[in-house]
């Protein structure tokens, strides 16, 4: 395996993989509210991890080709179009038993994985 491939593998989230482990490996930047290098394996943030896992599962079903972990400005960069957002909102509402207000359906709330998680949390979403 080349160094480049190894590097890519480190940053590729595989659905079903524990996100704590992924975030611990990543160690760079702040992903899903977890500070770089912080030890999250203790599962103190298990609720949030479950939310992130479920959200990623939903997102990959909508756009399997997109690297949602490392991408941002999802709408402006056309990684999600308006119909993807429609499906996403519907799936999120069903998965997390929440209601997303129509005024929340704006590009800012779908800017990145992080902002979508914040939206779910604001609306009381949990698994």
């Amino acid at each position: 395996m080349t160094a480049e491939l190894q590097e890519q593998k480190k940053y590729t989230y595989l659905p079903g993989t524990c996100l704590c482990r992924f975030l611990y490996i990543k160690r760079t930047g702040s992903v899903a509210g977890v500070k770089a290098g912080s030890r999250v394996g203790s599962h103190h943030r298990q609720g949030r991890v479950n939310v992130v896992d479920k959200l990623l599962e939903i997102l990959y079903e909508i756009r399997p080709e997109v690297d949602f972990i490392n991408s941002s400005d999802l709408v402006e960069n056309r990684l999600l179009d308006s119909l993807d957002i429609v499906v996403l909102v519907s799936d999120i509402e069903e998965a997390f038993a929440i209601s997303i207000d129509v005024t929340d359906i704006v590009p800012e709330n779908f800017y990145s994985l992080e902002t979508i998680i914040r939206l779910i949390e604001r609306r009381g979403g949990q698994i």
Binding site: E61, R78, I85, V102
Partner: protein
């Protein structure tokens, strides 16, 4: 901008839809997306079946069919029509006006006004405003307002953002003077800074159609279309609607002195089920007061959706009773408009197939 009208009313509505019905299930393979995702959209957006004209059919064909039906049925007489207002984005020609073509083919009287108005999703309200203004004249007593579009001819069948939701259609609305009718309140907002959110980029004089503009291109989102096709920035339109429409309706209620709870029906333009349900939730209006079933049954025919909505959902009711109705149209321009009026009893309110 707030506007009000006195002494005018709608006396009849006829919606015209093409016979040709196409099912979403049969089109799913045209789109560059998984069938599973498309089926989810079907449920959420209300995509089911839509009416599409056969090749070569123009908006004048639908309009003439509707007007001729009314003439043949004795619901309208040629000499009564003092003005013909056609609202469309898909005219037969650059010149002459399509309303003149309709007048000529139906052999209507020459002592009348023919007028083309280029408007889309808010075109029913803009057309009504035009009809009300014409009726201010002593010599104009009856206006035939025609809303119609054949948008399928300018839409890519491989564009998931647009093709599943559109439908072709037209509607004839007869508007007359009535000194006893209630006051009509309306408001309208134009935002040309967001003009590119709904646009057919080529085919006008700015970008004439060429073989290059007809070349299909796959965009980043997976849709194929060319510059001669209609383009929609779905997110921009959605944000425009959810941010502008609820306060616009509140302003209309304040302007008219009527409470939201006093309105019998909210007969809105029909962009899709998702948007209308969200709008109803936001406005705290029950779904049975705000029908959202036109896209799933016929498709979104732009300016013709409101009269189609009225004919399909309230057709029989409006023959005998009157209801306080709030109309709203929003879309291309971008434009948003709403109107509060007492509607009915009407001389006719029905649908026919072309």
């Amino acid at each position: 901008m707030n506007l009000q009208y006195r002494g005018k009313k709608i006396t009849g509505i006829l919606a015209v839809v093409p016979q040709n019905e196409v099912k979403f299930d049969d089109e799913v393979e045209n789109y560059n997306f998984s069938v599973k995702q498309s089926m989810k959209l079907k449920k959420i957006m209300g995509y089911d079946r839509h009416r599409i004209v056969t090749e070569g059919t123009c908006v004048s064909d639908l309009a003439i069919f509707g007007l001729k039906y009314l003439l043949d049925e004795g619901l309208l007489h040629k000499d009564e029509i003092d003005a013909l207002v056609l609202v469309t984005q898909t005219p037969d020609y650059y010149m002459p006006p399509t309303s003149n073509i309709i007048q000529g083919k139906l052999d209507l009287k020459q002592d009348m006004v023919c007028l083309d108005v280029k408007q889309g999703c808010a075109g029913y309200l803009v057309g009504l405003m035009q009809a009300f203004s014409l009726l201010e004249q002593d010599t104009i007593n009856k206006v035939a307002l025609v809303n119609g579009d054949v948008l399928s001819r300018k839409t890519s069948p491989q564009d998931r953002n647009t093709f599943p939701l559109i439908g072709d259609g037209a509607a004839v609305t007869i508007v007359e003077k009535d000194p006893d009718s209630s006051q009509i309140f309306t408001n309208i907002k134009m935002d040309g800074t967001r003009r590119n959110a709904l646009i057919i980029p080529a085919g006008g004089l700015k970008v004439p159609s060429t073989p290059d503009t007809a070349a299909m291109v796959l965009d980043e989102e997976g849709n194929s279309r060319c510059l001669d096709h209609w383009f929609m920035d779905g997110m921009a339109v959605f944000n425009f609607v959810v941010n502008e429409v609820p306060p616009m309706i509140n302003n209309l209620m304040e302007f008219s002195g009527v409470g939201l709870e006093d309105v019998d029906y909210f007969m809105f333009h029909q962009p899709n089920k998702f948007m209308l349900q969200r709008l109803a939730d936001k406005m705290d209006v029950s779904y049975d007061k705000m029908p959202y079933n036109i896209v799933e049954n016929f498709g979104n025919s732009s300016g013709a959706t409101i009269p189609t909505n009225i004919a399909f959902n309230l057709g029989d009711k409006l023959l005998n009773d009157s209801y306080l109705t709030c109309l709203a149209g929003f879309g291309v321009g971008l434009t948003a408009s709403s109107m509060l009026m007492r509607t009915g009893p009407l001389d006719f309110c029905k649908m026919v197939e072309y």
